[in-house]
């Protein structure tokens, strides 16, 4: 690993009503890289992802340490709203709010009370450019976000997450509801974004993981089986279970 990690999980375990779904996972996510979490349904990869910005609060019990800038953000006294502004999330399906494209992008900023028009305008343009959507929507910023196509909506959601300038972006199967063309665009966008952001993506699509990620973590039944550079993990997996999953013998 060349850089210090952006976020580290140490002995994290998650249980829904005392039913364990993730157990004893320790993992350091490299900064400004794309890390893919792969595994079969129910392997705990999405649950682990949701721990990283406290989205399991009130849903599941999360134990262990999650360190971000030297702070254990899994501690109860941590301000979860600030955590979520610094560690943003994009979901399985596009989730535009029933507002204009412009208002969608700055939603998080408005929430923080930003009123400066020029700053908002600037953030909208920057964020949409980073999400590779600017050229398509620059003339219809006042139009409803719900008129966009699914792929555009998902890039809008990425832009909305970017607008609050997070350090880490979590994506939970962001292309599972999209067609191949839109998927390609999202993947290209993510590859651009890793220059400035740490990206952690859960995907069911192994090709997607191998195409875009630098690092891959393979999960099975709530446990981390193997974590390595993507090229290594896909070509020369150390664990037999990883090899079986990659070759389709499991799942």
């Amino acid at each position: 690993m060349t850089q210090s990690p952006a976020i580290t999980v140490n002995q994290v375990a998650v249980a829904y009503d005392s039913k364990p779904v993730v157990s004893d996972v320790s993992l350091a996510f490299p900064a400004k890289q794309i890390t893919a979490l792969i595994g079969a349904s129910g392997s705990g990869k999405s649950t682990l992802l949701r721990c990283l910005n406290r989205m399991n609060d009130g849903v599941a019990t999360v134990s262990g340490e999650i360190t971000f800038h030297g702070v254990n953000i899994n501690a109860p006294q941590v301000n979860v709203y600030r955590v979520r502004q610094q560690i943003g999330m994009v979901f399985q399906q596009p989730t535009p709010f029933p507002l204009s494209i412009y208002e969608n992008v700055i939603y998080g900023l408005r929430l923080r009370g930003v009123k400066d028009r020029s700053l908002l305008d600037q953030r909208v343009e920057e964020s949409l450019k980073q999400a590779a959507l600017w050229e398509e929507v620059k003339d219809l910023l006042k139009a409803s976000a719900q008129a966009l196509s699914g792929g555009q909506q998902q890039r809008l959601c990425i832009a909305r997450t970017l607008a609050t300038r997070p350090e880490i972006i979590l994506l939970d199967e962001p292309t599972s509801a999209l067609d191949p063309l839109s998927t390609n665009q999202i993947e290209a966008t993510l590859s651009q974004l890793k220059k400035d952001y740490t990206i952690i993506i859960v995907t069911h699509n192994m090709q997607q993981a191998s195409r875009i990620s630098d690092w891959t973590a393979y999960f099975e039944q709530g446990k981390l089986v193997e974590f390595n550079q993507t090229a290594q993990l896909f070509i020369n997996p150390k664990e037999e279970r990883t090899a079986n999953y990659l070759s389709g013998k499991f799942g």
Binding site: N53, Q92, F97, P98, T164
Partner: protein, 294 residues
């Protein structure tokens, strides 16, 4: 014909004929009420006031009282139902408290309205010294409508996709803001529909009002807009006979020679108004949904 096809055909015929029977009963009832009532409805009937002994009395006061009671009741009931629904849909965790609350709401919805009326009489009219008044009536009707209204609001809230909430939380919104800024606006069409349907129920209710809003109407001044003045038409503490109560009263103890005509005319007006409420509920809900999802 194969046996399974025969069964299928028989079942279809049975279902269709039962549905037709239900429609026939409902349609026949409404048709009968309109046919026997509409000939007695005239402008004078709608705008005139009740007569005690002579024929030719109108229903203006009762009609106004019914509408005003709808407004008052919704003013009390909608906020209560909405808060209960928000709790049940957004905050309540599965457990004995939630189960108990749901059970209580269901039991409340099957209480006979006359029981609610007598309860209102004991508590609001006597205990709280509200006397026979619109306010006492509105509170009795709030109890009557709370279960269905809460259910309607809860259904509307639950139909908002879970991912919208997640998206809001993921941006760092506190839960109450997710609820008020994202969930509530999206659920508004359903909530409005529920409220308007409730309005129809309030309009048609009689039993719960006989002992709460009262069976008499005092002479009110429709030019006095001060709701605190005793004779103002807006005073919520005055007794007020509604249209449905009027129908009941004319039929049971009416002294006017044209009691039958007044009763059937009033019934026709009542049913048309409720029909309008129901159509408005659909129209308004659709319109709002379209407007909000622009």
């Amino acid at each position: 014909m194969k046996k399974i096809e025969l069964q299928n055909r028989l079942a279809t015929i049975l279902i269709l004929s039962l549905a037709a029977l239900a429609a026939l009963i409902a349609g026949g009832l409404v048709g009968y009420l309109l046919a026997s009532g509409l000939p007695h409805v005239s402008w004078q009937f709608l705008t005139g006031s009740t007569k005690s002994f002579a024929s030719g009395g109108g229903i203006f006061d009762q009609l106004f009282n019914s509408f005003y009671l709808v407004v008052l009741t919704l003013l009390v009931a909608v906020p209560l139902a909405l808060l209960a629904a928000i709790y049940l849909s957004e905050y309540a965790k599965q457990g004995p408290v939630t189960t108990g609350l749901r059970l209580a709401i269901e039991v409340l919805s099957s209480l006979p309205s006359i029981v609610i009326g007598l309860f209102g009489y004991l508590i609001f009219v006597l205990q709280w010294r509200l006397d026979f008044s619109l306010l006492a009536g509105a509170m009795a009707l709030t109890i009557l409508n709370l279960p269905l209204l809460t259910r309607a609001c809860e259904d509307a809230l639950r139909q908002v996709p879970q991912l919208q909430r997640q998206a809001g939380l993921g941006l760092g919104m506190p839960k109450w803001r997710v609820t008020t800024k994202l969930v509530l606006p999206a659920a508004l069409p359903g909530i409005i529909t529920g409220a308007v349907l409730s309005a129809g129920r309030i309009f048609g209710e009689a039993a719960a009002l006989i002992y709460t809003a009262g069976q008499s109407t005092i002479a009110v001044d429709y030019a006095n807009w001060n709701p605190f003045a005793p004779t103002s038409f807006l005073n919520p503490l005055r007794p007020a006979e509604t249209l449905a109560v009027h129908i009941w009263k004319v039929n049971t103890e009416g002294l006017v020679p044209d009691a039958a005509a007044v009763s059937s005319g009033a019934a026709a007006v009542l049913i048309i108004t409720i029909l309008i409420f129901n159509l408005a509920a659909r129209g308004l809900g659709k319109l709002l949904a379209r407007w909000l999802s622009r």
